[in-house]
Each structure stands twice: as structure tokens, then as C-alpha cells.
Symmetry: C2
Subunit: 256 residues, 2 copies
């Protein structure tokens, strides 16, 4: 189907939207670094509050910036093979997961060294749920889409759920970050926050940048005319021979 | 196109998902009422903290429960005319907006009476942005889709943006609610929150219920096979005669 001039015009905006995500994502990482590095005293792995400071930086790098970029690979690498892009998607998510685990070890280590109770706040509840579901999502993605054993019909059934929960967990990760920002400000600058202390303003702006990053990534991945068009031949080739011999072929209605 | 047995089966799940949203939404409203009514002392319009208590209740009723229900009307009333459902959508949003404004007046009134500074927290920034964009979105929706003057091509261009930002603002409203929960807990039960005080646990569970409501509403409105199938005849009839005489008819490719 030939695209209209309006559609061609909107397709041309994709690189600008991608650029916007990278500017917002990098700005969020830098602002978190400046907040923790400058206003909160820097980073160290010594059980002090400097160890805590590693936590927000790792979470924003892993669960927000890298997670978002991993969602974008299907829009950025439209001409690469599906398998290559899938591997890239899984690999970036794996690096994001490693960063998140380092961030978690930092905060639990800090709590343990300072005898601070764990897991009582809404931030911690949302965060742990996000991480656990993220791990399950990653393993299920690998099993269904990269290991060659899954039948086409199963893949087709699971794909919309994987996409929905992938985006849902990304939004939950951003929401959890905003909760973390609020919690940290109420611990650190409770008395000066209401007087618009620079640290509070920086952290608030960081929150808005995170929201902007989420909205832009969400817009790119949900816009229908920017979706990757699946090539049935490529889809068939990316599957194991075994699955092709099963009853549910790529041409079956269940997979359409 | 005939639907597969799997599709028919999944269509049958829609009422259950709708029921789940109503249970979660009502649970959120009741829990907010119990939190403010029982643990925080009840409600009054007297400039005290009891006036503040009106704020969370109005926001959860308006910006979360009613807002979410307004998104669902296109899935619930599939057999009603498009115009009827549009009016219902706009009307529920209007009630939501009124509830939100009452909630805003309550919190600003409380701040004013107690000499508490306004608009310094991330919660207040996100909240104000959400309300302003919500008002703009409502007026634009009315102008484009209910007033008969807008050309079909303009409607078709704006619709995806209206849908995306509508869902985006709903998510932002839920995120802002979670920030409000965290902020309120750090003001009210800072010393006992870490000891798992019942009020803190109730508020945390409320946060998770709000996330669950958002995820379920989001799933229903984004699931492709549950989308309302637009009837071109009905679409044409819902437009003003003037727009039908313009160059961009409903059958033009731009509107497809």
C-alpha cells in the first residue's frame, strides 16, 4: 500500500524523535550524576551515604536509559535482520539488568551498614516488583523469541503480552524513579525543599526529564506508521526447522 | 474477516477485565477514603489538615477512577452510536475535571490557611502539568470531535495524538498520585513508616492498587482486537454536512 504524503512526512520525523530521546535520556543520567556527585557528596563503596549514591545513578542508567534504548532498537535498526535486532534488544536489557543489580546491592549494602530498615516504602515495593517482573520478562523473551524451540503460534500469542508488559514495566521503572527522587529529597533536604533549594529544583527537573523521556520513547514505539514491518520470509528463516514442521505454520491464521 | 477461535475466546475475556478495573478503581477510592477518614481524622472545609484530606480523595475519584472509566466507554458501549459514546466520554471527563478542581481548591486553601509554601515538590509540578494538559486535551477533544466544524482530515490527524496523550496523562495522573502518597506518608508518619505502621502499609497497598488499575485499563484500551470497529457510514453521519462537501471526504486515503 502506497503511503500518503502525510505519512511520508511523519516517517521523516522519526530521527528527530530518536534524537530527542537520547538528549533527554543522557540529560537524566548527567543530572542524576550531578545530584549525587555534587550535591550529595559523590560515590564510594564504603557503607556510607556515598554508597547509597550509586543506587540512583545505576537505576537511571539501567532501568530507564538503557531500558528505553532497548525498546527503540526495533525502530532504529529497521534494515538489520530481525534476529540481529532481537539479540541487540536482549543484550541491552541484560546490561540494564546488571546495572540495576549493582544499584540494588549498593542500596541494600548501605541499609545494612547503617541499620536502616528495608522494603517499607512504596518506592521499594514498586522497585522490587519492577525488577522481579523485568527478570521474568527477560527470561520469557529469551525462551519464546531467541531459543529456537517455541512454536510460531505460541510466539504470536505471547508477543502482544511481551510488548505490553515491556512498555508497562518501563513506565513503572520511571514511576519508581520519581518516587525515589521524592523520598531522597524528603530525607536529605526536608527543611530547604520548600524554599526551592537548588538541589530540590535540580531533582524536580530531573523528574520532569524522566517523564519526557518516557513519553517520547512511548510515542515512538506505539506510533503505528513507525512500526517495523515483519517480513514473513525472514520470520520463517529466523525460526528453527523443527517449528516449521509443526502444525502451526507461519501462514496459519493464529499467527496472523 | 472471520475471527479465529482464539480471538473469539479473548474477546470473551473483555467483561472480566472491565470488572477487574471497576473492583480495583473502587478499591482505590475506598482505601483513600479510609486512609483520610480513619487514619488522618476525616474531612472538613476549615483550613485545617482535614481540608487537605479532601484533596487525595477528590484526585483519586476524578483523575484516576473517573478518568480511567472515561477511557473505557469506547470498549464498554460498543453497540451505542459513536456520537453518544463521545458525549459520554466528554461528560465523564468533565465530572473528573470538576472533582480535580475541588481537590485543588482544597489543597491550596489548606496551604494558604497554614502558611505552607505552594508548588515546590515534584508531586505539585507533575500534578499541575497533568491538570493543565488535561484541560487543553478536553477542549481540543471537544473542538475536533464534538463540534461539527472540524474537517475529517484534521480529525484523522489529531485522533492518534488525542489517544496517545489521553493515555499518557492518565498514567501521569497515577504517577502523580503515587508521589502524593509518598509525600503525605513522609509528612504524617515519618517515624513509624519504617516500622510498617498500618497507615503506611494501607497507603503502599493503595499505591499498588492504583498501578494495577492503570495497567488493566491500559491493557484494555491498547489491545487491538478489543478496539471499536469504526463504521464509515456512522462516521460520515456524525459529521456536519459542511465537512462532507470539502475535498477531504471520509473515503480519502488520509482518513484511512
Amino acid at each position: 500500500m502506497e503511503s500518503s504524503p502525510l505519512e511520508r512526512q511523519s516517517l521523516g520525523l522519526l530521527p528527530w524523535f530518536i534524537a530527542a530521546t537520547q538528549i533527554l535520556g543522557l540529560a537524566a543520567v548527567i543530572m542524576t550524576g550531578v545530584w549525587m556527585g555534587h550535591y550529595e557528596g559523590g560515590f564510594a563503596w564504603d557503607g556510607s551515604s556515598l554508597e547509597f549514591n550509586i543506587h540512583p545513578l545505576c537505576m537511571v542508567i539501567g532501568m530507564v536509559f538503557l531500558y528505553g534504548d532497548s525498546l527503540l532498537v526495533y525502530r532504529v535498526f529497521k534494515n538489520e535482520s530481525k534476529t540481529t535486532v532481537k539479540i541487540l534488544h536482549a543484550a541491552i536489557h541484560l546490561i540494564a539488568l546488571v546495572a540495576a543489580i549493582v544499584g540494588l546491592v549498593a542500596v541494600f549494602g548501605f541499609h545494612s551498614a547503617q541499620n536502616i530498615p528495608d522494603m517499607y516504602s512504596l518506592h521499594s515495593w514498586c522497585g522490587l516488583i519492577t525488577i522481579i517482573l523485568f527478570c521474568i520478562q527477560w527470561v520469557m523473551g529469551l525462551t519464546f523469541f531467541l531459543f529456537p524451540g517455541a512454536a510460531y503460534s505460541l510466539r504470536a500469542c505471547y508477543l502482544p503480552l511481551h510488548v505490553y508488559f515491556g512498555l508497562g514495566l518501563f513506565i513503572l521503572a520511571i514511576g519508581t524513579s520519581l518516587l525515589g527522587i521524592t523520598e531522597k529529597l524528603f530525607f536529605s533536604i526536608r527543611d530547604t525543599y520548600s524554599k526551592f533549594a537548588p538541589e530540590g529544583v535540580l531533582a524536580n527537573v530531573l523528574g520532569l526529564v524522566l517523564v519526557g523521556f518516557g513519553l517520547t520513547v512511548g510515542y515512538i514505539v506505539t506510533r503505528s506508521e513507525w512500526k517495523r514491518v515483519t517480513n514473513p520470509e525472514e520470520e520463517a528463516l529466523s525460526m528453527h526447522f523443527k517449528t516449521l514442521t509443526e502444525r502451526d505454520s507461519p501462514d496459519s491464521p493464529q499467527g496472523s
